[in-house]
């Protein structure tokens, strides 16, 4: 066996009310400790894929293997303990009366002993920089802070895989930056496999690999800089492109000879400044 943490083979899935299959003979794998960003327009199948991996939806046929275990009705609860999910709306996933209780909720469900639970809650809050808010009520928190608490709740359960399902899309720009910074830090520590489903190009840029999904098919699967270099194709798929690619397109329209490879915004500024001084 390889080191794949998630392996999907010959998966077929359709929603009962729909005639067409969304996924047809779909294959996909994610390596252990890999960070994968899945991008695609609304309805491309991103969230459906996350729900299939977590066993919230059942495929018509095919296998999903999580951490060497084939997902089935018997082991679904065991497998769900290996996967933590953070959803889009910070208001919908706060269940505790205060921050610490909210983080403890999942541990209580798993009957973790009190002392250990206390330790894990504190450690998880520490990791998301929310320890000083442990006694606060949710009304006192911003959207970004609530999402950090949601992430702490997931981390406390020590899953192997964390799925972020558009976890930053309802936050204001500061909250979004804040959460993206946090997931960047988590990534540096390499403890988890992370799947982030997102429209946010800054979030996708942090991943090891970007997977472009379109109507249940993988169109591209490559490091971010390689995917982002295809600005035009991304736009035609209804996806966002990094601003540096938008500038390149606007300059190309004006017959400027732009660099072919993907540049970050800073490299784009460098290139423009150097080119101007040469003229």
């Amino acid at each position: 066996m390889t080191s794949s943490i998630i392996e999907i083979e010959q998966l077929n899935f359709k929603y009962s009310q729909q005639a067409e299959f969304l996924f047809k003979d779909f294959n996909f794998r994610i390596e252990n400790h890999e960070w994968v960003a899945i991008i695609g327009h609304n309805g491309s199948g991103k969230s459906t894929l996350a729900r299939l991996i977590d066993g919230l939806l059942q495929p018509q046929s095919g296998t999903i293997t999580v951490d060497q275990q084939k997902l089935n009705v018997e082991n679904i609860w065991e497998i769900r303990q290996k996967i933590g999910m953070v959803f889009q709306n910070p208001e919908n996933q706060f269940v505790g009366a205060n921050v610490a209780e909210d983080v403890a909720f999942g541990l209580e469900n798993q009957a973790v002993p009190y002392d250990l639970m206390h330790q894990r809650v504190r450690a998880a809050l520490q990791r998301v920089n929310m320890l000083q808010f442990a006694d606060q009520e949710p009304v006192n928190l911003s959207g970004g802070q609530k999402q950090r608490v949601a992430l702490a709740g997931v981390i406390a359960l020590q899953p192997k895989v964390i799925i972020l399902d558009e976890a930053t899309s309802m936050l204001d720009p500061e909250g979004r930056r804040d959460v993206i910074q946090l997931i960047h830090e988590l990534k540096m520590q390499h403890d988890f496999t992370i799947i982030s489903i997102t429209h946010d190009i800054d979030e996708a840029a942090l991943a090891d690999r970007v997977v472009v999904l379109d109507d249940g098919k993988i169109i591209e699967s490559a490091p971010p800089e390689q995917v982002f270099a295809h600005g035009k194709e991304l736009v035609s798929l209804g996806l966002a492109v990094p601003f540096s690619e938008k500038i390149k397109a606007a300059l190309t329209q004006r017959h400027v000879k732009v660099p072919a490879q993907y540049y970050t915004e800073q490299r784009m500024v460098d290139w423009i400044c150097q080119s101007i001084s040469k003229m």
Partner: protein
């Protein structure tokens, strides 16, 4: 009729005279001219939503007063006095598809005109016209709105508001949660509608690129007070001020400032969009077919 909006010393306090009293708007005065496109920006909790809920009298000032389309709204204005105004001011709240409820798309859009006294036949006619306006394909009109994609559900909800044929359109983050294409299509739709029907548009947003593209004036709110009211170009020309107030620049302006800092290049006019940026830079950059 004067279609402008005028706030005069408006203060709004949630749960006044209780320990939970919270002052959401503090002595706010400003005007919005008719047929303008105004962006309202500020952080979560700055008072944006409270402010827009005054525009059709969903909230009435705790003190102060405002006029919208010549209708005076004070602390004591009754719902009955506001019936006419509520037809003239269409508010698209965040995630408006949460308010869909009818069996079919057509019925959902026809609900408001019917409610405001149109006959079923008239209401259906308006609904069909409005569905076309928001570019919903005719094939979905008899479907349940709940079977549609997120982007189409949003269009149905927006059509429901437009079917009231409002003169003022208030948009509270109307594209939140949509994918980039959905975002662009809906924003372009509002820009077109404003043109065609000469609407007054008020947009609450966090996206500075949209402020730059669409708005002709910006109102900045912070802790219930107005910090600035000016054109986007003036506002975005003050990066230090924006930074101090934790507000972003449009992407193009940010890049322009970075270029100016790192080189001797000076932009004649601050670019707010990628086209404006490319226009000013193009002649200084190597052309296709040149050797370097």
């Amino acid at each position: 009729m004067d279609l402008s909006i005028n706030f005069k010393n408006v203060t709004y306090i949630y749960q006044p005279a209780t320990p939970f009293a919270h002052r959401a708007l503090s002595d706010v005065s400003f005007s919005i001219p008719e047929h303008s496109y105004t962006a309202v920006i500020g952080h979560t909790g700055s008072g944006k939503s409270t402010l827009i809920q005054h525009l059709n009298g969903l909230l009435r000032p705790t003190s102060g007063e405002l006029t919208v389309n010549d209708q005076l709204i004070t602390t004591t204005t009754t719902n009955k006095e506001l019936v006419k105004l509520r037809r003239q001011v269409g508010v698209v709240f965040q995630f408006p598809e949460a308010q869909l409820f009818e069996e079919t798309v057509l019925k959902d859009i026809a609900f408001a005109p019917k409610n405001f006294g149109a006959t079923p036949a008239e209401a259906e006619k308006i609904a069909r016209k409005t569905a076309e306006l928001v570019q919903l394909p005719a094939s979905v009109l008899e479907q349940s709105p709940f079977e549609l994609s997120g982007g189409q559900m949003r269009r149905v909800a927006i059509a429901g508001i437009l079917a009231m044929q409002p003169q003022i359109l208030v948009l509270d983050e109307p594209t939140a949660g949509l994918d980039p294409r959905g975002h662009q299509e809906i924003m372009e739709l509002f820009a077109q509608l404003k043109q065609q029907q000469d609407l007054t548009v008020i947009l609450v947003t966090h996206q500075m690129d949209d402020v730059a593209l669409y708005a002709d004036q910006v109102i900045v709110l912070e802790e219930g007070k107005i910090m600035a009211q000016q054109t986007p170009r003036k506002l975005f020309s003050r990066p230090e001020w924006l930074h101090k107030h934790h507000l972003d620049l449009p992407h193009a302006a940010k890049l322009a400032f970075a270029i100016q800092q790192q080189s001797n290049f000076k932009f004649k006019e601050l670019p707010l969009t990628e086209d404006q940026l490319a226009d000013q830079l193009a002649k200084w950059l190597p052309k296709e077919g040149s050797s370097n």
